[in-house]
Subunit: 205 residues, 2 copies
Amino acid sequence: MADRSTQNRKTRTRDDFLDAATLLFAERGYYGASLADVAAELAVSKQAVLHRFASKERLYGEVLQRTAEHLERQFDEVTQVEDSAEEQLLAFLLAVGSSEPGSSTRLLMRELLDNAPRAERAGTWYLKSFLEGLIERVRTVPGWEKASRPRALALAYQLLGAVNYHSISHATLKAIFGERTYRSLEREFPKQLEATVRAALRSPP
Amino acid sequence: MADRSTQNRKTRTRDDFLDAATLLFAERGYYGASLADVAAELAVSKQAVLHRFASKERLYGEVLQRTAEHLERQFDEVTQVEDSAEEQLLAFLLAVGSSEPGSSTRLLMRELLDNAPRAERAGTWYLKSFLEGLIERVRTVPGWEKASRPRALALAYQLLGAVNYHSISHATLKAIFGERTYRSLEREFPKQLEATVRAALRSPP
DNA sequence: GCACTTGCTTACCGAACGGTAAGTTACCGA
DNA sequence: TCGGTAACTTACCGTTCGGTAAGCAAGTGC
């Protein structure tokens, strides 16, 4: 580990760069966040960023990959603690829904939007194994064992949508409904999410 | 109406500009789509766009407003045809889910993401009345009459998320799972959506 | 027939973009 | 102590961005 206590030693770690970039890409998107923005966040020159990551595209790729891995790890943790598949899915969705703003959710949501023009990307493959895990988990819920994989994916995607859509809308919802109503919504949302998830899982095809 | 048959008369209507801009903003986002892109799509100069709409921000505002109105009209149509509130909500969600790519859904989803940095925007207020309508409709479903407005909003938002999240992911899903599985998913999705919506609506708080 | 408006055009502008080139400074292993 | 390398820096570069200025052709009103 690098000696950071020495005076004048102010080198950033690779993760420092990725953290800042993740936040900015999540907030403003690929086009909206510039290399200069990332650099400014770390109080270094723009070329410091280009020194570590050869290009903006590369930086974005690494950010995406790290984020997908984070999400998958989050899923793995939950699936090892909770007992039934229903509880596991619910716990995971609640965890994702309550994660801080400017995080994985926002970034991956953007990737879903932005991916179309720029063909296939690295992060896509990380999402795949994550989604496969979700499908498998759904198909171990009582009643869902004989559901087709596409059908299970449809449900998984709907539940992901239910939680993710909300978690990107904080700012807008607050602007629309005001602080008071917004806070009520935040209180009600997890309760309703639990109801929605359970209701859906208990209505197998 | 302008005479368009006269030779050399090639003026674009205001809607021509808005149509092109809507598509591009939906596809690439506010930052990703340039005025030059919009102009190129219509085979006019970039300044033709600026002539009609004073600035990019203004153009985006009008695009957003028109899109929100379109969505609300779609909702109004459905709520006048179908009978029960449950059927109305289901019909609307299915309609939104099956709308063509590059449309309202994509654009509004982007607005939810991009809105945060740029404070409050015009389109926000159009979304409000739309969401209010949804809340009202949910609270006329049997069992939901006594649900709080935030609770009804939570459900409405989850159902919106379930359908919208999917409808922006076409390209990515196809890339991840391949043409075959993707088509199966597209076939299963509406069925599962109906199941999810009904299950949620029939589990009042 | 002539001013006025509409709907563009070409010609620019400064700022910001991603990226290259060439140092500079600090540390580290031999 | 000396060579190499990691982690930057300053100085540029060409392109694209949103936006301004000025002009011009075609209709419109009087």
